[in-house]
């Protein structure tokens, strides 16, 4: 179930030859948007994640920066309210410790590790998974678009109300709404081509 949320990861940072799975009609806005996003192989951005939940007195807000490399994974670097770097590759979550070493997070949120697992799958061309799970609709134009993901399956829909992505050339925001009233909104700023990776980044993600 949690893997559904995984879908986001893929979309937040790009690619995916979505056209393969879309009905063989003229390219739709969805296809256009995804094709445009896929142009950027390595992306950096600053994120702000805001989490609302009926059990929280006020929304939790965290900020930091993010590096995404297609085919490898992502580094999610939280700067506030604490310092932490998670490396999400393949099916696993690892933490970059103070000494610059990676430690496996054994009891990490399974959802988080599945984010990357699913992401890798999607990048390898298995885009049908997203289409199997969601009804996808689009609004706007390639320069200013909104995509809605609504679960196809009743069992999932009872938990996950929907996911909304907005963006232009890059992804600007992700909105996840759970049926329980929980809502997580991630917005991206200063999105840009990543340029050269630092040695730590390159080794953590296994990129050259």
């Amino acid at each position: 179930m949690r893997r559904l949320i995984a879908l986001l990861a893929l979309l937040c940072c790009t690619t995916l030859a979505y056209a393969q799975t879309a009905p063989a009609a003229a390219p739709t806005l969805v296809d256009d948007v995804l094709t445009h996003l896929a142009k950027h192989q390595r992306v950096r951005a600053e994120f702000t994640q805001r989490r609302e939940n009926p059990d929280l007195a006020e929304p939790q807000v965290s900020t930091g920066d993010l590096l995404f490399v297609i085919g490898k994974g992502m580094m999610w670097h939280t700067r506030a309210p604490y310092e932490d770097t998670l490396v999400l590759t393949g099916g696993d979550t690892r933490r970059l410790n103070a000494q610059g070493k990676l430690e496996r997070v054994r009891d990490g949120n399974r959802g988080v590790s599945q984010v990357s697992g699913m992401l890798q799958g999607l990048l390898a061309g298995k885009t049908d998974e997203a289409a199997r799970q969601f009804t996808i609709t689009a609004e706007g134009s390639v320069d200013n678009w909104t995509l809605h993901f609504v679960p196809k399956q009743a069992r999932v829909a009872r938990v996950l109300a929907g996911i909304t992505l907005k963006g232009d050339a890059f992804l600007e925001s992700i909105d996840v709404n759970l049926a329980s009233g929980e809502r997580t909104a991630i917005s991206f700023a200063n999105t840009r081509e990543a340029g050269a990776l630092s040695p730590v980044e390159a080794s953590a993600l296994g990129a050259e």
């Binding site: 179930m1 949320i5 009926p54 929280l56 309210p81 999400l88 949120n109 199997r132 196809k152």
Partner: protein, 787 residues
């Protein structure tokens, strides 16, 4: 016509035979379930040192017992799902299935979360417990990190119910969250590079080993599968489950029974027609044998309540030994010519037949002592069959063969027999035997041995491949290697199991066991203490008085991390909750499929994936109450032990037979009579060595028969010679006739698909062949009375 006592006896015998036949028909077909046993496990002996271990083996083997596990595969996801749905629907219509699961019944995620809430403070993963106990554990920091995880939204326990994520971590380790099959479109689905696989489970309304259930269920599956594949081209269905193994075993055994039964019947018929040149002897011989087989079947079912497949195949071969008795009688009739008098014939063959029967019964009786269910059945089958066949010669045949035979034994056959007898009974033959013994020595030296379980159980490779594929994709399928954990009480069992599973986790060996779902009371108390200590630790001066305080602390940490006061109050109020008990575990529906792992006085821990048995042993080393059960290895050890036992038995039986011969023929005569079977055994074993066949238990079982049959031949010849002095070679011709019929029946077992029976057949082929050729040694060469 005088109402001869012969006729009365025969009438009585015939009446009893008819009754037995009727009983046999009722036993086989008259009752609901067929007594034919196809369960391969049932014929294996108990190998484990205690009943609990045997029970565990049985439970594991039956865990997927009366179910068909099917994976419907197709490149196209929709086609795979539609095919699975339709297959499920089609199977569901047949009453042979009690329940078919394809589409999942509606359920809420909450059903997999809410039942655990009262126990949440007692259930921790090892990692969480270690983290809580680590110095510097900061509850507020932990909460903050959890609240700000990337893509934070999480499904599972509500945030306020599980602020630290402990329950979530625990639930992530539960079996239903570890499966690679995920619910999709209300179907359990796995995706692989080559397409989608959808699970369909059909539970049988009856046993996998029930003949009727088997046929109907397989028929229904084949039909449904055929339709589904026709409608969705490219679909294929992977199958596993005990029922398929049982059906494969049955098909193999039936094929063997047919091949051996039909081929030997036809072969024997042609041979008897050629030798006796008349239909009557042929029919008589078959009647006597058939009565033997029917009597044997009835006796076996009466004693054991069932008839094992292996016994049936063996029984088909036993025809060849049972027919010997009537052949001796028929030969006596053919040799007597016009002077034939049925009762004198009986008196003439009686000593030979009784001696032969006694040695055979002795052999089979010893076989019945082996604590091996399949062998016992065969022994009872053989004893009953031989006795009935022999009795029919004494009591029934005289009445049916009142008139003299209209032809002596076929002349060419007798001439060949006589020629060989002359060659083989001279002094030179002892020299030849001596030389052959020398030649045999290297063969004996080359001889190895093999006790592998696959001698007995060799399922078709395609079925094994499908089972492995299903295990890869879906992650289930029981193995026969596992850890058995024992203890005096449930708590002791759980603690012993935890010692093992903690070690497994450290070693990185994946496993399924009860403690993954239900920690021991001690462990749960430890979990609660870890939670308490972690929450109280940062309260200076209050250490040790952590009673009401931990609630207050939990509350204050949650509020500090950003939770609402009401949520924090509710969480604090729930503390410490209840311990999770065995009864609680048994009550949770999601755990039902795993209840077979629990045995009160013990539990089963199954390794996931391929784990080397040596590694399993190392993991269990030194742990109290933990042992590795390796059924295939136990069976192999047992086969080895029996092989040793069988060799001893062979020696003992030889001594017994020698004693019987010495009593009748004197020491010098006994030596001659014993020589053919003895040399036959020595040469067959050497031949096996030269053929590079490792010696197995089944070769030795065959050698036991060689001894019995070989002794018969020597006896028939020795006893028959004086009565056929007027037709030299006739007695040996009778022996050869017996030998060829035996070869035609037992020997054909060499064509069997089951390695055990194949070895059995080959050994008999060699042993009976050698013995029959050497038999003339047992009696002095006939004088040449012919011109």
């Amino acid at each position: 016509m005088k109402p001869a006592p012969t006729t009365l006896r025969a009438a009585a015998f015939a009446a009893v035979s008819l009754l037995v036949c009727a009983l046999g028909v009722w036993l086989l077909f008259g009752r609901g379930a067929s007594p034919l046993q196809t369960d391969l496990l049932a014929m294996l002996p108990a190998t484990e040192r205690n009943a609990l271990a045997e029970d565990a083996v049985e439970r594991l083997a039956r865990a997927s017992g009366d179910r068909m596990i099917l994976l419907v595969a197709n490149k196209d996801d929709d086609a795979a799902k539609d095919a699975a749905r339709e297959l499920g629907e089609a199977l569901g219509k047949d009453k042979v299935f009690a329940h078919v699961l394809a589409e999942l019944p509606p359920f809420d995620m909450e059903q997999l979360v809410n039942p655990f809430l009262p126990y949440r403070f007692h259930l921790l993963t090892n990692e969480d417990r270690a983290a809580l106990a680590a110095p510097g554990y900061d509850p507020v920091e932990t909460l903050k990190r959890r609240l700000n995880e990337p893509f934070g939204a999480n499904v599972g326990p509500k945030l306020g119910d599980d602020p630290f994520g402990w329950l979530q971590h625990w639930l992530d380790r539960q079996p239903w969250n570890r499966s690679t099959l995920v619910p999709e479109d209300d179907l359990l689905t796995a995706h692989r590079n080559d397409g989608s696989y959808v699970l369909v489970v059909a539970t049988l309304d009856g046993s996998s080993y029930d003949d009727g259930v088997q046929r109907r269920a397989l028929g229904a599956l084949d039909k449904a599968e055929h339709e589904v594949i026709a409608k969705h081209p490219g679909t294929h269905v992977l199958r596993t489950g005990a029922i398929f193994y049982a059906a494969a075993a049955r098909a193999g055994a039936e094929r063997d029974t047919h091949v051996v039964g039909i081929a030997s019947t036809v072969g024997i018929a042609i041979l008897l027609l050629f030798v006796f040149r008349s239909m009557r002897p042929l029919l008589i011989a078959f009647l006597s044998t058939a009565l033997g087989v029917i009597g044997a079947t009835v006796a076996t079912i009466l004693v054991f309540g069932q008839l094992h497949l292996l016994t049936l195949v063996f029984g088909a071969a036993l025809l060849g030994e049972a027919v010997d008795y009537s052949i001796q009688y028929l030969c006596a009739r053919a040799n007597a010519g016009p002077a034939w008098e049925p009762m004198r014939g009986v008196r003439q063959v009686r000593p030979a037949l009784l001696l032969a029967l006694a040695t055979s019964l002795l052999g089979y009786a010893l076989l019945a002592l082996v604590p091996f269910p399949a062998l016992r059945q065969m022994a009872v089958f053989a004893i009953a069959g031989m006795a009935v066949a022999c009795a029919s010669v004494f009591w029934l045949l005289p009445a049916l063969l009142r008139n003299p035979g209209n032809a002596p034994l076929a002349a060419p056959f007798v001439r060949v027999a006589l020629a060989w007898q002359r060659v083989a009974s001279g002094r030179r033959s002892f020299v030849v035997i001596g030389v052959l013994v020398l030649i045999a020595i290297p063969g004996w030296i080359k001889l190895g041995h093999d006790d592998d379980i696959h001698l007995l159980i060799s399922p078709p490779a395609t079925l094994e491949a499908q089972t492995n594929q299903i295990r890869d994709i879906a992650g289930f399928g029981g193995g026969s290697q596992f850890w058995l954990v024992e203890g005096d009480s449930p708590e002791a069992v759980l603690e012993h199991e935890e010692a093992l599973t903690d070690r497994l986790q450290k070693e990185g060996i994946a496993w399924t066991g009860v403690t993954g779902m239900l920690p021991s009371r001690k462990r749960q108390a430890g979990n609660l203490t870890a939670v308490r200590d972690a929450l109280c630790r940062n309260t200076p001066g209050q250490l040790g008085a952590c009673g009401e305080l931990d609630r207050a602390q939990a509350r204050s940490y949650m509020i500090a991390a950003g939770f609402r006061a009401e949520a924090a109050d509710a969480y604090a109020a729930a503390f410490p909750g209840n311990a999770f008990t065995l009864d609680d575990w048994k009550r949770i529906p999601a755990y039902m499929p795993f209840q077979y792992l629990w045995m009160d006085k013990g539990s089963i821990v199954v390794p996931q994936g391929d784990v080397d048995v040596e590694r399993m042993r190392a993991a269990a080393h030194g742990l109290p109450g933990v042992s590795v059960i390796d059924k295939p290895a136990s069976i192999s050890t047992l086969f080895g032990e029996y092989r040793g036992f069988a060799s001893l038995w062979l020696g003992a039986a030889m001594l017994l037979v020698a004693a019987a011969f010495a009593w009748r023929y004197g020491l010098r005569g006994a030596w001659r009579v014993l020589l053919p079977p003895l040399a036959g055994i020595v040469f067959s074993v050497a031949a096996l060595g030269y053929l590079n066949q490792p010696l197995t238990l089944f070769h030795l079982m065959a050698l036991m028969l060689v001894l019995g049959v070989g002794a018969n031949y020597a006896v028939f010849l020795r006893e028959g010679e004086p009565h056929s002095a007027h037709t030299p070679g006739a007695a040996y011709a009778g022996v050869l006739l017996s030998a060829v019929t035996a070869l035609l029946s037992f020997g054909l077992l060499a064509l069997s698909t089951m390695p055990a029976l194949q070895h059995f057949g080959l050994t008999l082929l060699l042993g009976i062949g050698f013995t029959a050729l050497l038999a003339p040694v047992s009696a002095p060469a006939p004088v040449n009375s012919n011109a």
